[in-house]
């Protein structure tokens, strides 16, 4: 093999080996599989964080009181808490967990997602602070048209 091609191949191989590690920091579906199959919000929080005790402060949750389309309910949440992760739960669907964000020093807790809700229910946002405490915000939403059929 020519030297130039060989060197080029080496760089490519190094890049390919490096990428997967940087792409997935923590896959909560693999590290905490039980949290995704839990049927109640308390159970899901407990499976994810070890405790379901949360402090209801420091987190701002914005969502409509009445969602016309349960297939895409807009949910916004912000917080200034120095945090390790943020998780979203609801009690309208068969399982509770919606998504978990892993944070690092570049993260700003200012997220907006669209989620499905099969029926009316309550959305819970949990922020895992660097101090080890769990902070939360809740909001009840009336869903006019269930959205798990989408």
């Amino acid at each position: 093999m020519e030297r130039r091609k060989f060197l080029g191949f080496g760089i490519f191989a190094a890049a390919a080996a490096f990428v997967p590690a940087s792409l997935i920091a923590e896959d909560y579906r693999k590290t905490k599989p039980d949290a995704w199959t839990a049927h109640t919000v308390e159970d899901a929080i407990a499976k994810l964080y070890g405790t379901s005790k949360t402090i209801e402060q420091g987190v701002t949750l914005t969502a409509p009181d009445v969602a016309a389309n349960g297939g895409a309910v807009p949910v916004d949440f912000q917080s200034d808490i120095a945090a390790k992760s943020v998780a979203v739960f609801q009690n309208a669907n068969p399982e509770s967990a919606v998504c978990v964000f892993t944070l690092n020093e570049n993260s700003v807790i200012d997220y907006s997602i669209k989620m499905k809700m099969k029926q009316s229910g309550t959305i819970t946002i949990v922020v895992e602070g660097r101090d080890g405490k769990l902070y939360s915000a809740k909001k009840a939403i009336n869903v006019a048209l269930g959205g798990c059929e989408g």
Partner: protein, 97 residues
């Protein structure tokens, strides 16, 4: 994946949409197909992770989401990748404005 990233006052805000049916287990059962939904989304800028999100079947179909982060400049490239339950992936990038 469509990505719009804008820098303002030191914070980059990103709006992204992934094209995916997000088939829940219930719907998939009715249709007699295999459930499939995005399970992980991540974004990097200059090899630093700026979004790391594990997701379930309850994000909307073609999920739209917004997030913010610090520590990037105008002209940097943001690269986003999703992985679904069946192992398909899609990677897209966009330049921060």
């Amino acid at each position: 994946m469509e990505i719009k990233a804008k820098l303002k006052d030191g914070i980059v805000s990103v709006k992204a949409m992934a094209k995916h049916p997000m088939l829940t287990y219930d719907v998939a059962k009715k249709q007699g197909v295999e459930a499939n939904f995005i399970t992980h989304i991540n974004a990097t800028v200059n090899n630093k992770v700026v979004l790391d999100m594990s997701t379930s079947q309850f994000l909307s179909k073609n999920p739209i989401f917004k997030f913010s982060f610090k520590g990037a400049a105008v002209g940097d490239t943001i690269t986003m990748t999703w992985v679904d339950l069946l192992g398909n992936t899609e990677t897209s990038d966009s330049v921060i404005k």
